[in-house]
């Protein structure tokens, strides 16, 4: 579409152009097939909108506000996850972030402990402890328990 039509398209479609501008556009449309075709299609579609105009004066039945208020209460009664705990959106986001951070720290701590266990007592040390004769003494019993725990891992 050429600028001469495009600049005044809305006014042209609404029939609100001043006579001089109207003449200018019509002169162009007489000479330009493509603009004429495009504007005709737009006029056709534009005319369909008349069907959406409501001629009826619509007035709500008495008590409309009370029914809106009831509708609002219904909406407010449906709790969201955040509202259930009385949390605002921003606070909820912070809480989720803090929880994830805590999980990450705990996770890395557990992983480091796990690798500590893996490096535990060597087989030779365990054998040496098993060969120790003094089972009746308390430290020796503790050693035995430690050894058994090491095997379990």
């Amino acid at each position: 579409m050429h600028a001469v039509v495009m600049d005044s398209l809305e006014e042209y479609l609404a029939g609100a152009l001043k006579p001089a501008a109207q003449r200018e556009i019509e002169a162009h449309l007489n000479a330009c097939d493509t603009c004429r075709e495009e504007i005709r299609s737009m006029q056709d579609v534009s005319q369909l909108f008349v069907s959406l105009r409501s001629e009826e004066i619509a007035a709500p039945a008495p008590g409309f506000y009370a029914r809106v208020a009831a509708q609002v209460s219904e909406h407010e009664a449906v709790p969201s996850v955040g509202n259930m705990f009385g949390l605002g959106f921003a606070f909820g986001r912070r809480l989720i972030f803090a929880s994830l951070l805590t999980l990450a720290v705990l996770g890395s701590y557990l992983v480091s402990r796990e690798s500590g266990y893996a490096a535990g007592p060597s087989p030779e040390a365990v054998m040496a402890q098993q060969e120790a004769p003094a089972f009746d003494s308390a430290p020796a019993q503790d050693n035995m328990l430690v050894t058994m725990t090491a095997y379990e891992h």
Binding site: D7, A16, S51
Partner: protein, 221 residues
């Protein structure tokens, strides 16, 4: 006309248009009313409902034409206004904001009505229901007895092919009869922006109409 789209670069409106200063809606009596409603004052919200209820009813009736459902949709509209009034940022007038909510609510209603009708008529799987929910609203593919109803169905179908913003602008321009200048004032947008958006929206409607006219079973008004 579709062939023109390729030759068209960005529309160059503006040589004849002088943009006006934006209206500061926050510092108007209506702005004060909204601020009271935002602060949770029920009387202010009630005033908003009473001020705009007739307008909302008319918009809904124009689109939906089901008198029984108009009030239900209007209730939904004002419930949404209440629940999101805190997000109203005064960039547009209050009625423009309410208008957008109303038009969206109507299209949502038509879409749901179509789904209900299809579910009633046949047993759809959940995937099918979801697909239909995302499609166009309930527009009958039969010729309604009244030609204005046929036109209404047709234009509603076309309006599903444009964005919410484009739909609102087209409705405000074509149904409410606002000029570009008035639209700029009401929406807080520049006049040139309004013209460009309307031009693109109109192009989309024309293309959608051309596609629909080729679809058997759908009769334009």
């Amino acid at each position: 006309m579709g062939t023109l789209a390729g030759t068209l670069t960005l529309p160059t409106f503006g040589s004849k248009v002088a943009s006006k200063t934006r209206v500061d809606y926050q510092n108007t009596p209506e702005g004060a009313l909204v601020q009271r409603a935002q602060a949770g004052e029920e009387a202010a919200f009630r005033e908003i409902v009473e001020r705009y209820q007739s307008k909302v009813f008319s918009i809904i009736h124009g689109i939906v034409r089901q008198r029984n459902d108009v009030e239900d949709i209007a209730q939904q509209v004002f419930a949404k206004v209440y629940l999101s009034i805190k997000n109203f940022d005064f960039r547009s007038s209050l009625i423009t904001w309410i208008y957008k909510i109303t038009v969206n609510e109507c299209f949502d209603y038509l879409r749901k009505r179509k789904v209900r009708k299809l579910v009633y008529e046949s047993d759809l799987s959940e995937d099918e229901v979801r697909r239909v929910e995302n499609s166009e609203p309930a527009v009958d593919r039969q010729i309604p007895a009244d030609s204005s109803l046929a036109q209404r169905d047709y234009v509603l179908k076309l309006l599903t092919r444009v964005s919410e913003e484009e739909r609102m602008l087209l409705m405000l321009k074509e149904v409410e009869g606002f000029s570009v200048e008035e639209l700029a004032e009401k929406t807080g947008m520049n006049e040139n922006t309004i013209k460009v958006k309307l031009f693109r929206a109109r192009q989309k409607l024309v293309k959608a109409a051309q596609r629909l006219d080729r679809t058997p079973g759908l009769v334009p008004g």
